[in-house]
Every structure is written in C-alpha cells, then in structure tokens.
C-alpha cells in the first residue's frame, strides 16, 4: 500500500501544475501591481505644461478624489484613450490631472489644441524622473488618488468607457462615501 502511494505522487504533481497553469492562462504576466497603492503620492515638483513658470506638486492632489493620467504624444494607445477621457471630463465627476511623460512640449501643446484637453492641469515630466518615483513603466497609466492624497488604485493600459464604468466609478463613489 505504502509502495503504491509513491507511484501516485507524479499524478498529484501533474494535477497541481495543471491547476496553476489553468489559473495562469487568465492572468496577464505583463501587468505589474504597484507597491505604491495605499501609500501617499510621492513628493514631486514639476513645471506645468502650459506654463513652465508655475509648479505642479503633490499638494495639488489633496483635498479631493482625483485621477492622474500618464500620457505622451508618442504613445499610440493614448490616442484612443484621449477621446474617452475627453468625454469623461465633461461629466465633471473628478478632476483629471495629466502627467505628460517624456514628451516634447511643443508636440504636446499641439496635440491638446488639435484633439481637445481633458485635463484640469498637466505636469510636464521631460526626463521621466518623477514617473520613476510614481512607479510608472509605460504609458498610458492612470492613478486614482483619494482625498488624503493616497494612491488607491492604478489602471495600466488605455482607459475605455467600460473601464470607467467597471473599475473607476465604483471606486470613486466608494471613496466619496468614505470621505464624508
């Protein structure tokens, strides 16, 4: 009997592996969860895109629920996202701040004039150094910040209407309830 058990062992290993693989097929290994969730937004100070003399820093992100969207004109997926964001911004639910990531100021300004500007204010990160502090590893990425300036959620990839409905709005409502 004891001897038989040894021979069953390989099947158990196989079953366990297949279980993991099955689960793994539904995970996307390229999405990396940010360790910054639940932490205050990192301190930073960047010039604003439209007015380089003015600074944009973390204090701006306190006091209300807001979104910070990392984008760039070289980012193909951002084009698709732009329209959704524009539509969303018109509903005036939360302010959307932009972090223009490793971009060229002139192209960025042109892009906004041509396509419309969904952002309440835009910080301009030419070197990408601030983005590193935010744990950004590509564009677009979107952070949800609560009233206390704490990062509560991060979405990697372009925002679509579906993402807004399914991922963002419920969380924004929950944060509002929490805050009041």
């Amino acid at each position: 009997m004891h001897r038989r058990l040894v021979f069953i062992l390989p099947i158990l290993v196989l079953i366990a592996l297949i279980g993991f693989f099955w689960r793994g097929l539904y995970l996307n290994p390229t999405l990396v969860t940010s360790p910054l969730i639940g932490k205050p937004v990192p301190d930073f100070s960047l010039p604003r895109l439209h007015d380089p003399q003015q600074a944009f820093n973390q204090s701006r992100l306190k006091g209300q629920v807001s979104l910070v969207n990392v984008w760039a004109t070289w980012c193909v997926a951002c084009r698709e996202e732009q329209r959704t964001l524009l539509h969303f911004s018109k509903q005036n639910i939360v302010p959307i701040y932009g972090l223009d990531y490793k971009d060229d100021r002139q192209s960025a300004l042109r892009w906004l004039t041509e396509r419309g500007n969904p952002y309440t204010a835009i910080a301009f990160d030419a070197t990408g150094n601030v983005a590193i502090n935010w744990g950004v590893y590509g564009a677009p990425e979107t952070f949800l910040i609560d009233q206390h300036g704490i990062i509560r959620y991060k979405y990697i990839g372009p925002i679509t209407t579906e993402v807004i409905q399914r991922e963002l709005l419920p969380r924004i409502r929950a944060l509002r309830r929490e805050g009041t």
Partner: protein, 667 residues
C-alpha cells in the same frame, strides 16, 4: 487550390492517425492480428500526408502565394529564397506544422526499424505515437491552420521577422524539434511497455538507441541555439535563462538522466519503474515547453504571439497525454517486481543513481524557477521575477558534486566496486587535475574568484578522468595489440570530455570575460585586454531587404594587426525594425566581439566591446558531447539488436511475464 490540398492532406493525416492509434492500441490489446497489420501502413500514410502538407506550405512560400495569410504575414518577394524555406517555421502555425512533420519523420523511422520487435509491442508504440499525432493535428486544424486564405490576397507580404533571417534558422528549430519530438518515441516505448505489462532489460535495450538519437538532436539544437543567440541578439551572452530556453533545457536534463538510467536497466534490469517515469517526464517536459512558448503564460523574448484558445488546447492535451500515461504508470508500475538484484554501496549503480538525482533535481530547480512567478501569481501571493542570478546561485552548488561524480562513476564496477581499483585508476588523474588547476590559478593570479577556480579544477578533473580509460587502452594496444575499447565506453568518454570542455568555457567566459561600453568618435581608439580598437567611422551599406550602417574597427595588438571587423546596424524595410549584427573575430581561445549601439551625433557612436576567452569551448563541448553520443550509437550491440531481439523476445515470452527476466550483458 494548392493550399486547400494542404488542408485536405492534414485532414486525411488526422483520419489515418486515428486508425494508427486505434488499430495499434486496441489491436494489440485484443491480440487482433489483422488490425495490428494495419497499423504500419496507417502510420506511414499519416506521415506521408503530413509531409505533403509541409511540402505544400513550403511551395506556397517559394511561389509567394500571398493569398495564404500565413505566407503574407511571414514572407516577402524580396526575401532571399533560402529564407523563404526557413520562413515556413518562422511563426506559430508553420512551426507547429514542422513539429507535426518531425513527428511524422519519427513515426516513419519507428515503422521502418521496428519490424524485429514483437508485433504487439511495435503496434502499441505506433499507436501511442498516433495518439500524439491526433492531438497535434487537431490542435493545428482547430486553432492554428497555416493554410487559411487571406481575402483579398495581399499584394506584398509583410516579410519574415528580421531576427529570423539568419542561417541559424535553418538548423536550430529543426534540430530542437527533432530532439523534443524524439522524446515522444521514448515515451511511446515506455507507455507501450506499461500497456503490455512487461518492462524489462529488453525494453531498455530497444528504447535506448531511440532515446540516444533524440538526446543527440536535442543537444545539437540547444548548442546551436546558444551559439545563434550569441551572435544574433547583440548582447554577447550565450545563455539567458529565459523561460523558453529553460523549456528546452529541462527535457535535456531529464533526457540525459534517462540515457544514463536506461544503461542500468539494460545492463542490470534494475530501476525499471524509475526509468519509465523518466521517459514519461522527458516527453512531458517537451510538451510543457510547447505550452509555455505558445500560450503566452510567461514573459519571454522568444514567445510566439498568442491566442488564449491555443493555451487552453495545449493544456488540455498536456493533461490528457501525461495524465493518461501517469495513471497507467501508477496502475502498472507497482506490479513490476524490482528485480535486477542487489549491489554494493560502492558500485556503478550507486553512481548512476546519484547522477540521476542531481540531473533531476537540477531539472526540478529550473522548473521551479521558471514556474514560481506563475504559481505566486495564481495564488495571489505577489509578483516576482526569477532571473539568471537565481539560476546561477542554484546551479553552481548542484553541479560541483555532480561533476566530481562524473569523473569517478565510469571507473567503478557494476554491482560490486572496489575502492582501491578505482583509486588506482584515478589517483594520477586527480593529481594532474590539481596540478593544472594550480597552474591556472597562479597564471591568473588573485583576480579570480573561488567559483572560477572551482570551475577550472572541475573541468580539468572531468576531462582528464574521461580520457583516462581511452588513453590507457590506447597505450596497451600500442604495446600488446590486443586491448580494445567498446564504442559504447568510448562514446561515453568522449561525451564526458565534451561536458568538461563546456564547463571550462562557461566558467572562463563568465568569470574572465571583459565587457566595455564606450563612446567612439572616428579616429578614437580604446585598449581592451591588450588589444587596441581603432574606430574609423561608419558607412552605409545595402542588403537585399535592409539598409545598414557599418562601422569599421581596426584591431591591433602591440602594433601588430589582428583583424579588421565590421559591426552593422541593420534597418529592415518591412517595418523599420533594426537589428544589431555584432562583428565577431572568432578564435579558438578567445572571441573579440564588437557591436554598434546608437549614433550620438557628429559621427560618434556608442559601442560595446567584449573580450570573451574560451567562449568557443562552450559550443565545442556541446558538439563533442554529440560526437560521443554518436559513437555510442555505433556500438555493435545496437547493430546486433536486429538479430538478437528475436531471440531475446522468445526468451522473454517464455519467461514469467518477463518482469523477472534478468539478462546479463555480454560485457
């Protein structure tokens, strides 16, 4: 019209594979001779129709038939014709067809060379191979049809991925697949033996040459892949521990264990169930590799573009094949009495057991490292990366005892070894290895680490100990003219020498190689390891389907010219992608490696220069291992198999279900 014929050929092959599988397994189970007689023709037909499909796809590539989606996506009229052939396996669908084609070749070979095997056994082997063919043909026809039409046809194809436009592409994938798929034959032999309820030394003797051939191909494939990535990826590395590389390394490690374990089963009739498990594991790991590469479940630089349906299909197939084999194993293997008799602690058997332990633990470590991020993700326990530093840390402590044992094992007698005898044979070898190690360490002074010293010492030990026997025999022969050395033993010695040279190459390149990244302007120069590299600037050159910038470096040593090398940066017209063609001045004892980085304006370029001592020994070692395997394959014993198999089989049939059969080796 012609591509549809290809599709039809695959459907017919599928029908024939069903017949092959059914008649093979059920016919043997029922002892139905007419059914069993149908197996071989069905198998041959299946293989021929698969080959026809392969030829048709190749034809579509050669005739630029861009109405076939797969051709349109992976070829171009400007693509040189040899690459049109290799483009057949340049992406998922075609490489899967190559997989099935190679399985067809193995099936043909088994059908051809199994006539001397008992009919029931040969039927079962072909039946199991048929089952594997069914799985892969269904996979191809349902999710990955290479003959799908593109409507309207494209005017021009997209071109083959520039990385794959290399002569290496003609050798690496076919060899690797020959190895991967070859493990299915060892698997089929093991499953057939389990089905038949007879597993003995005769079984081991039959499956040993097949396993050895598969192992040879796998070794060639991996060695070639390593060399290819060395010169094509532009990093100067020879092994990256990427999940897909690991996927080919795991079956190799287990296959190597299997080749050794079969020796014990054949010579001593021992460890039968363990050997059978290894045969199942080696092929399972091949299937696992297929799954990892084609499912997108892991992040890898080599992965194919993915479709989740494919992942699910291969996973189901993996579960079905391996699951069935393991259930059969759990049911049948305990019935085989562990015969083969006893052996002393100090005996060949012990050393081969240890060999198996280290190889299997090494394979398990690679598996663990490769899958660990996936498992953590599936359990929601965090995201981690397991990269080269992990594998290096785990592998070195496993390989040090392993290579010490490699030297000793062959000099210990079967069943009952004698320490003084082995000591006499190896004493001077150990002394010589220590001497060489000491000389090397003195030459390299204090700049080496402990690992480098251990590596050099182990390499010397492995090579010298492997040479001891052949050298001694040769010496005896010169004096007395009657000592002989079996090809089997000679093959083993040669293979072990190869392993030793590989360790030497890996250690020395890793520990003593130099990499320098610098900015060069025309006229500037830099000295690396005594060689002076003078940059003379870049010029534009043009290839059949790319434009390139080519740098010129004049290398001198103490004012004497060494070489002039021309690294390139190619931009392909397909989609503007660039590749780095490193310039390599290859020498037996060192490579000089120069790669262009990025232009920095005003004629300045960033450049990577590497000095790689003994890097060629890595691949030379691999090829010598292959040579060793080939010599072993030429052993008289296997040529005699055709005659003796019949007599052995009669004996086996007469014996009590064969399980207790013990056959003393002739030598």
């Amino acid at each position: 019209m012609i591509p549809e014929l290809g599709q039809l050929a695959l459907v017919i092959a599928l029908c024939l594979a069903v017949a092959q599988c059914f008649f093979g397994i059920v016919g043997a189970q029922r002892g139905h001779f007419i059914w069993m007689n149908a197996v071989r023709p069905a198998a041959v037909g299946q293989a021929l129709f698969v080959s026809l499909a392969f030829v048709i796809l190749t034809y579509s590539f050669l005739t630029n038939d861009f109405s076939v989606r797969y051709v349109a996506e992976n070829s171009n009229t400007a693509l040189p014709w040899p690459y049109k052939i290799t483009a057949v396996w340049g992406a998922h669908e075609g490489s899967l067809l190559l997989w099935i084609f190679v399985l067809g070749l193995w099936t043909l070979a088994v059908a051809r060379f199994s006539r001397r095997l008992p009919q029931e056994f040969a039927s079962r082997v072909l039946g199991v191979l048929g089952l594997i063919s069914i799985g892969f043909l269904l996979f191809m026809l349902t999710t990955s049809d290479p003959f799908t039409r593109l409507l309207p046809p494209a005017a021009q194809g997209r071109d083959l991925n520039p990385l794959l436009q290399d002569p290496g592409m003609a050798v690496h994938p076919p060899m690797l697949y020959m190895g991967y798929v070859g493990m299915s034959v060892a698997f089929a032999f093991a499953v057939a033996a389990l089905l038949g309820g007879r597993m003995d030394a005769v079984w081991a003797r039959w499956s040993r040459p097949w396993t050895l051939v598969a192992w040879l191909f796998l070794t060639i494939g991996i060695t070639f892949g390593s060399w290819w990535s060395y010169y094509v990826l532009g990093w100067g590395g020879f092994w990256f521990w990427d999940p897909v590389e690991n996927a080919s390394f795991m079956p190799w490690l287990v296959g190597t264990a299997l080749v050794h374990s079969l020796a014990v089963t054949e010579k001593r009739g021992a460890f039968k169930s363990w050997t059978a498990l290894l045969a199942i594991a080696a092929f399972s790991l091949s299937l696992l590799g297929t799954f990892l590469v084609r499912s997108g479940i892991l992040i890898s630089v080599h992965a194919f573009a993915t479709d989740p349906r494919r992942g699910i299909f291969i996973l189901a197939m993996l579960g079905a094949f391996v699951g069935l084999a393991l259930i059969l194993y759990a049911w049948r293997a305990p019935m085989f009495s562990e015969s083969g008799g006893g052996f002393k602690v100090f005996s060949r058997e012990t050393f081969l057991l240890l060999n198996n332990i280290f190889l299997v633990v090494a394979a398990a470590a690679v598996l663990l490292g490769t899958l660990y991020p996936l498992v953590l993700g599936a359990l929601n326990l965090g995201q981690i990366s397991v990269g080269p530093p992990y594998f290096d840390h785990i592998f070195v402590p496993l390989m040090i005892p392993f290579f010490i044992l490699i030297g000793i094992g062959p000099y210990v007698r079967w069943k009952h070894g004698s320490v003084p005898h082995t000591g006499r044979k190896l004493g001077w070898v150990a002394a010589l290895a220590l001497l060489v190690g000491a000389i090397v360490i003195v030459l390299l002074r204090a700049e080496t680490s402990f690992i480098a010293m251990a590596g050099v010492l182990l390499a010397a030990w492995t090579v010298f100990s492997a040479l001891q026997e052949p050298v001694q025999r040769l010496w005896q022969r010169l004096r007395h003219r009657h000592a002989s050395l079996g090809r089997s033993v000679l093959g083993m010695s040669v293979a072990h020498v190869g392993a030793g040279l590989m360790i030497l190459g890996v250690t020395v390149t890793t520990m003593l190689g130099i990499t320098v990244d610098r900015v060069f302007t025309p006229g500037s120069s830099l000295s690396v390891h005594g060689d002076q590299y003078a940059f003379e600037g870049v010029q534009d050159v043009s290839g059949p389907n790319y434009q390139a910038v080519q740098g010129t470096f004049v290398v001198t040593h103490d004012g004497r010219p060494v070489t002039v090398i021309y690294p390139q940066k190619r931009q392909f017209r397909r989609d503007g992608t660039t590749t780095t063609e490193a310039a390599i001045d290859a020498g037996p004892f060192r490579d000089l490696y120069v790669a262009l980085g990025n232009p920095l304006g005003h004629g300045a370029w960033s450049v990577r220069i590497e000095y790689k001592p003994l890097v060629r020994f890595i691949w030379l070692g691999g090829l010598i291992m292959v040579l060793g395997g080939f010599i072993a394959l030429m052993d008289k014993r296997y040529r005699r198999v055709r005659i003796t198999a019949v007599t052995l089989d009669v004996a086996a049939t007469l014996g009590d279900a064969g399980t207790n059969l013990r056959r003393e080796p002739e030598h």
